[in-house]
Structures are given as structure tokens and as C-alpha cells.
């Protein structure tokens, strides 16, 4: 009852100074809204990066060639041409828990068809490629192992290339010329969008890697090997097995390749956005603290201004604790109310930003809960000092205060 009365008294006091209460809460409102908007935008960016990483395919392990050194100068990873088709074949043959393997070739070339031409990326892959990349064929079918063995002149094309060369959309069975060699289009890849690095993944033509090596790029070594592990748990083991196998195949020479898995890639990619989220959140957090100091400031003014009121309350029998509680509750109500309005503003604001800029946002319930709990704590923390000052007043002095 006594606590209930105290809450009632605190609410009355806030209502009596509506304007001041709103202005005081404004600091917290802005702080909480900023925290939520910033964290939402940061989380959205992170989620987008994660989705892009996932679009690389599930449980994918990538083998890159190593560096090469010539005359004492060593170049970086991927510069050497040390991976062979045999390496890819041996992985497929000898390593357990592998769903698919593809030897990858990459090159850029001018492509002609339909009286139009377009410069695009030519990928040499195995038939496992669509399943490894979780990239379905939307029309037609993937070329087969037979096409790989026979160095077939068949191609799968991406959405962007389709749009550029075949505006009427009729692609299957058509012929495109890559470096003047005709390839028959047997399938079309579903649209996939941009990758982590902002490249249009649909701007590509996929042909058998053998055809790429013998007809297009005319290179004996492959650019990379993609391996799909059977499960997420198997990734580490498969990765180690690949390393062991390839080392064994190199018969004591130094390691000239590197094996990466998708998790590492994802970590590297999300690290930036995580840092950004943290940074933005910290900046917004500072404004929350400033809001808290605003509350303390107003509460101190309020205690001074209401010294007589405190004196009257003490005279008619309020304990110091009642007065402490009254002012503390006022501060906590101000900050919690500010927190709740801040949530609405923060969520609304981040929706607005997302609508205006097209950035993805993700309002996490954690950030909402943390913001509210933090704002109440701010009220408690910054309200305590003025409240205690009020509670320790001497009733005689307080009554005499002008």
C-alpha cells in the first residue's frame, strides 16, 4: 500500500510537470531510439553478409593454389599454377564424406550470340557445380560427366548474360560463340544476385572444365577446387584430409596450396559489419548516458525546487525511504517511458531508413530488451543521487527553505 501510494505520488508529480517530464525523457528517447536503429541497421548488414556467404553454397571447402617464387621473389596465395585436374580427381576418389567436387577454371572472354556481344566470365566446372553452390538450374539441365569427358561444346548461362544476349528469353538450344568457338546452350542458371564483393554472380557462362582448358583458356592448371562436405560437422575432418592427401601427392615438396572453408570466409566477411555494429551501438550508447545525465540534472533541480514539499512530507510522517523511493520511481518512470517511446521511434526510424535507402534492417529482440533494461538502469543510477539527497533532508530545514 505504501509503495503503491508512492508510485501514485510519483506519477502525480510527473503529470504536474508534463512539459518538463517530456523534455527530460527526450534524452532517453533519443538514446534508446539511436541504439535500436544503429544495432538494427548493423544486424541487417550482418544478416545480409551471412546470406551472401550462405549463397556460396553449403559446407563448401575451397582449395586455392599456393604462391610461387621465382628468383627469390615470392608472390601471394593463388598466384601459382599448382593445382591440377588430378588433384581434384583424387579428392573425389579418396576422401570420405564428400558430396561433390569441381575443378574450377575462370577466364573472361567476349561472347557472341544473336548478333549481339557481351564480355563475361567464363567458368569451367564439373557437373557437381550447381549442387555445390546451391544454385539451381532454372531451365534446361546441367551438362553431364560425359560432356566433361568428351570436352563437349555445351554451356549453361547466367541470368545477366541471357538478358544481354537473348532479350526475347528463348535460350535453350541456341548457340553462343566463346572466342569464336560455338557452344550449345543446354541450361540456364537461376538468378542469384550479387556476391559478397559486389560482383554480379549471374554475369557468367559455365562450361565443362575440360572444354575450358582445351578450347577457351588453353591452360594446363586449374584455378581452384570446390569441395562440398557431407555435413557441417564433417568440414574440419574433410579439410584436414584434403590437406593430407594433397601434401602426400606433392611427395615432400613444400605446401603450394591453401585450403579454406566457408566458416572462415563467413567470419572474415562478418567481422567488419560486426565491428561497425559495435561502433554504432557504442556511439548510440553514449547518447543514452548523456540522456541519463539529463535525468539526473532535472531530478536535482526538482529536489531543490521541491525542498518544501519534501519537508511537508517528512513532517507528516514520511520516512526517508518513502522520499527516496518517490524520487527514484520518478526517475525510473521517466527513463522507462522514454525507453519505450524510444523503441517505437527506433524501430520506426530504422524501417524508414531501410525504406529510403534500401538497406536491410533486422530489429533484434535482444537489442530492444537490452535498451529498455539499460534505460531503466540509467534512471535508477542517475536518479539515486538526487533521491538520496532528498531523503536525507532535515525536515525543519526543508520546511524553512524558501
Amino acid at each position: 500500500m505504501r509503495a503503491f501510494n508512492t508510485i501514485k505520488v510519483a506519477l502525480r508529480a510527473l503529470r504536474r510537470n508534463t512539459m518538463r517530464s517530456i523534455l527530460t525523457a527526450l534524452g532517453i528517447i533519443i538514446g534508446v531510439a539511436a541504439v535500436i536503429a544503429m544495432v538494427s541497421i548493423g544486424n541487417g548488414a550482418k544478416a545480409q553478409v551471412e546470406a551472401q556467404v550462405a549463397s556460396l553454397g553449403e559446407n563448401v571447402i575451397t582449395v586455392f593454389p599456393g604462391s610461387f617464387s621465382a628468383g627469390g621473389m615470392r608472390s601471394g596465395w593463388g598466384s601459382a599454377s599448382t593445382l591440377t585436374v588430378d588433384d581434384a580427381d583424387s579428392i573425389k576418389r579418396e576422401i570420405a564424406n564428400v558430396l561433390g567436387v569441381t575443378a574450377e577454371m575462370r577466364d573472361r572472354a567476349q561472347v557472341l550470340a544473336n548478333g549481339l556481344n557481351w564480355n563475361t566470365q567464363i567458368m569451367g566446372e564439373s557437373p557437381d557445380y550447381p549442387s555445390i553452390r546451391s544454385w539451381p538450374i532454372s531451365d534446361g539441365a546441367m551438362f553431364t560427366d560425359q560432356d566433361v569427358r568428351s570436352v563437349g561444346k555445351v554451356a549453361i548461362i547466367g541470368k545477366t548474360v541471357t538478358d544481354q544476349l537473348f532479350p526475347d528469353g528463348n535460350v535453350i538450344g541456341q548457340t553462343i560463340r566463346i572466342r569464336n568457338i560455338p557452344f550449345k546452350i543446354v541450361g540456364m542458371l537461376a538468378a542469384k544476385g550479387f556476391n559478397l564483393f559486389g560482383q554480379d554472380q549471374d554475369d557468367t557462362v559455365v562450361i565443362p572444365y575440360t572444354s575450358h582448358m582445351k578450347r577457351v583458356s588453353r591452360r594446363p592448371n586449374i584455378n581452384s577446387i570446390l569441395v562440398q562436405a557431407a555435413s557441417a560437422d564433417a568440414i574440419d575432418k574433410v579439410q584436414q584430409d584434403i590437406t593430407d592427401l594433397l601434401m602426400q601427392r606433392r611427395k615432400g615438396r613444400e605446401q603450394d596450396f591453401t585450403v579454406r572453408n566457408q566458416v572462415e570466409l563467413a567470419q572474415a566477411a562478418t567481422a567488419t559489419s560486426q565491428t561497425m555494429t559495435l561502433l554504432l551501438g557504442a556511439i548510440a550508447g553514449v547518447s543514452l548516458i548523456v540522456g541519463g545525465i539529463g535525468i539526473m540534472n532535472i531530478m536535482l533541480v526538482s529536489v531543490t525546487e521541491r525542498t518544501r514539499e519534501i519537508g511537508i512530507r517528512l513532517a507528516v510522517g514520511a520516512h526517508g525511504r518513502d522520499v527516496l523511493l518517490q524520487f527514484l520511481i520518478e526517475a525510473v518512470i521517466l527513463s522507462s517511458l522514454g525507453g519505450m517511446i524510444g523503441i517505437l521511434l527506433g524501430v520506426g526510424g530504422s524501417e524508414l531508413v531501410s525504406m529510403q535507402t534500401g538497406w536491410p534492417i533486422l530489429v533484434s529482440s535482444t537489442s530492444v530488451v537490452v535498451a529498455v533494461a539499460f534505460s531503466a538502469a540509467v534512471g535508477m543510477f542517475f536518479g539515486y543521487y538526487p533521491a538520496r539527497k532528498a531523503a536525507q533532508l532535515d525536515p525543519i530545514e526543508a520546511l524553512r527553505y524558501e
Binding site: 500500500m1 501510494n5 505520488v9 502525480r12 514539499e309 511537508i312 513532517a315 507528516v316 510522517g317 525543519i396
Partner: protein
């Protein structure tokens, strides 16, 4: 009959400054139920200090104070607050009502800090009854700034009565009021006293003291006079006289 207020050789010494101030120097006093006492003295005589001691707002340095049989001279801050809440009703010179708070809510104030629980409705009813005693039940929802000085002081009296205290302590209750309103407020006090409420009042106005039954005079922290008032003023009679005088002076019409 046992005394409601019994103080024995009470002293108060303030130690805060360079020289200790001996504000009350051994006062002994019995006040019985139903008394109406005026405590008088020049400024610096110690009457405010004695009032604070009687009101349990302060503790004596030496001596004993029994309020309604309870020794309150050694109670702590919170125990004193409870005593003030239950046994004492305060009326101040400056009314000390909470601003922007209705007369009713002001009157409810002591009940908020009471030991026994009251429902909101019960508090409201009791507050209304108090306001009725001082003749202001029709002003329950008015704010202090919508009331005259005399009405504000009557709200303060209603607040003091809210917890049915043993004694009513009034510190210069007419100090901020004009003579007519002073008579009006003294009339309220006389009426309450007639109903059996014990009242102790600090005043420096001799004519106001004549509305009380007993006059105490304090000088240099000591009680120098303690007399019964021989020919008390009756507020009703005085009010009638004032009105007649006003009519004669054409201030108001009869």
C-alpha cells in the same frame, strides 16, 4: 487525568556554530487533554525550538518528553516520523500545502504515510470528512492557488486532522492572514477544541493568544509565565463585532 504532553527539564543545545547555542534551558511542562495553549515569546526566545521538540521534528539534548505516555526523546528518525504521523497534526504559518495538488489530495497526505492501510476510497472519505469539519467540503477539488489564505489554512487544518492526532501543533497559524481571516481560523480552532482536541499554538500576537485557554511565555529558553486566560475571546462574538465595524465603515453592506 494523565498529561498528553509531559516534558521534564528539557534542554536543546545547537553545536553547529563556533559557540554552542543553548536555545532551550530546562523547560518542564504538562499539557492535558482538551487544553488550548498559546506559546509566546520574542524572536530568539526559543519558542520555535520548543515547538520543533514538541512536534517531534527534533530531539532534545537533555531531558525527557513523554507524548501520550511514550518517551519520544530517544527515538530514531523513522520512529519519530511514525509518531508525527500518528499523534501530531501540523499547521504552519505559510500553510505549506502542496502546489498544484487539490485540497482533497493535500488532506490525504498524512494517510499515505500511515501505518494502517487505507483503500483509496477510505482515504477519500476520511479526507472529505476532515474538510467538512473545517467547512470546505465544497472546495475539495480546488487547487491551493484557487483558494483564499483563510481557506488554504483551513485545508492545512483538515490535513492536520486527517489521522485523528492526539495534539494539533500550530506554528503562527495566523501570521500570514489579515485580522478578519485570523479570527475565522481561530474560530475553527476554538470549535475543534470544544470537541476535545488538544491544541498547542505558537504566536507572537497577544490578541490571538487571548482566543486560547492558557498562555505560556518563553524568554531566553526558559518558561517565565504560565497563566490561564481570564477573559477569553470568542471567535463568533469577535467576528460579529468585526462585521458590524465593517458595515459602519461602509466596507460591506449589512
Amino acid at each position: 487525568m494523565a498529561a498528553v504532553v509531559k516534558i521534564e527539564e528539557i534542554h536543546k543545545i545547537y553545536d553547529s556554530g563556533e559557540i554552542p547555542v543553548h536555545a532551550v534551558r530546562g523547560v518542564s511542562l504538562d499539557i492535558h487533554r482538551g487544553e488550548f495553549v498559546a506559546l509566546m515569546g520574542a524572536s530568539g526566545s526559543g519558542k520555535s525550538t520548543l515547538m520543533n521538540l514538541l512536534g517531534c521534528l527534533d530531539r532534545p539534548t537533555r531531558g525527557r518528553y513523554l507524548l501520550d505516555g511514550i518517551d519520544v526523546s530517544r527515538l530514531d528518525r523513522n520512529e519519530l516520523a511514525d509518531i508525527r504521523n500518528q499523534k501530531i497534526g501540523f499547521v504552519f504559518q505559510g500553510f505549506n500545502l502542496l502546489a498544484r495538488t487539490t485540497a482533497l489530495e493535500n488532506t490525504e497526505l498524512p494517510m499515505m504515510y500511515g501505518k494502517q492501510r487505507h483503500s483509496s476510497r477510505e482515504m477519500r472519505e476520511r479526507a472529505l470528512r476532515s474538510l467538512e469539519i473545517v467547512g470546505l467540503s465544497d472546495r475539495a477539488d480546488h487547487f491551493p492557488n484557487q483558494l483564499s489564505g483563510g481557506q488554504q489554512q483551513r485545508v492545512a487544518i483538515a490535513r492536520a486532522l486527517a489521522n485523528a492526532p492526539e495534539i494539533l501543533l500550530a506554528d503562527e497559524p495566523t501570521g500570514n492572514l489579515d485580522s478578519k481571516t485570523s479570527v475565522e481560523v481561530m474560530g475553527v480552532f476554538q470549535k475543534l477544541n470544544a470537541q476535545g482536541i488538544t491544541i498547542i499554538m505558537v504566536t507572537h500576537e497577544l490578541d490571538i493568544a487571548r482566543y486560547c485557554k492558557r498562555n505560556l511565555i518563553l524568554r531566553d529558553g526558559r518558561l517565565v509565565s504560565d497563566v490561564l486566560v481570564p477573559d477569553r475571546f470568542d471567535a463568533d462574538v469577535e467576528m460579529k463585532k468585526l462585521k458590524e465595524a465593517e458595515t459602519a465603515a461602509k466596507l460591506t453592506t449589512a
